[in-house]
């Protein structure tokens, strides 16, 4: 059962304030991911303070890096149920967990960060992993 919208509003705001676009319906997910071109980060948001409480600040830090995805979108697990289920269909090879992060290039998942790789870690460490992945997958080939 979804939490009270007032409780999760700050968690949504944290994402939109860093430039992420919220996808709250199946149609919005399909429009964003259905024929995805270029580079994209999909953040599966969560109310879980144990992990998401550090994942969002980590993402904010990572997005200050020189190399970053062209688009950042987010769905909210446990809140926007249909949108989240639809988003997960685009990376069905990976078991659902939240929070989690998928990096896509031209519709292909090139990197995935599971909840267990976020839990109990400080934002700086999570951000360092993310920026390394940005460099590896989104950096300009030389």
């Amino acid at each position: 059962m979804p939490y009270n919208p007032a409780l999760v509003a700050p968690m949504r705001g944290e994402m939109t304030n860093m430039g992420a676009r919220e996808l709250t319906s199946v149609a919005e997910v399909d429009a964003a991911l259905g024929d995805q071109k270029g580079t994209m980060l999909v953040f599966i948001n969560s109310v879980c303070g144990c992990a998401a409480g550090n994942a969002r600040p980590a993402l904010r830090l990572a997005l200050q890096h020189g190399v970053k995805p062209q688009q950042v979108v987010t769905v909210f697990a446990g809140q926007d149920l249909d949108a989240t289920a639809r988003a997960r269909q685009y990376f069905a090879e990976y078991q659902p967990s939240s929070p989690s992060v998928a990096l896509l290039r031209d519709g292909e998942v090139v990197h995935f960060v599971h909840r267990h790789q976020i839990e109990g870690r400080p934002p700086q460490a999570i951000a360092a992993d993310l920026t390394a992945a940005f460099d590896r997958h989104f950096g300009v080939a030389v």
Partner: protein
């Protein structure tokens, strides 16, 4: 909201994905909830069974890369069966 933790009075592993080794052939991988006199309570638990003849290292690497395929939504592992617990990220390092 950043950095907020809702469960400050819980076990230090609460909410952490762990590998729970047992005295049997089974290894459980899932989210640690709590520990009490009955045992360890876990959620969304995948199971490795050495009796199947597959590699535990491969199982754990697959869990790390693709996530955990849960066979139990909730699981209680009796204290007497538990031999070791470590974080999944440490187990695959």
């Amino acid at each position: 909201m950043s950095g907020r933790v809702f469960h400050q009075d819980r076990h230090e592993l609460h909410g952490i994905t762990v590998v729970l080794e047992t005295h049997s052939s089974k290894v459980y991988v899932g989210r640690f909830d709590s520990q009490d006199e009955r045992g360890v309570h876990m959620h969304d638990v995948g199971v490795y069974d050495a009796a199947a003849g597959t590699s535990k290292a491969d199982f754990l690497r697959r869990c790390d890369k693709f996530g955990i395929m849960p066979q139990h939504k909730d699981l209680l592992v009796p204290t007497a069966e538990v031999s070791a617990i470590e974080r999944l990220v440490d187990a695959v390092r």
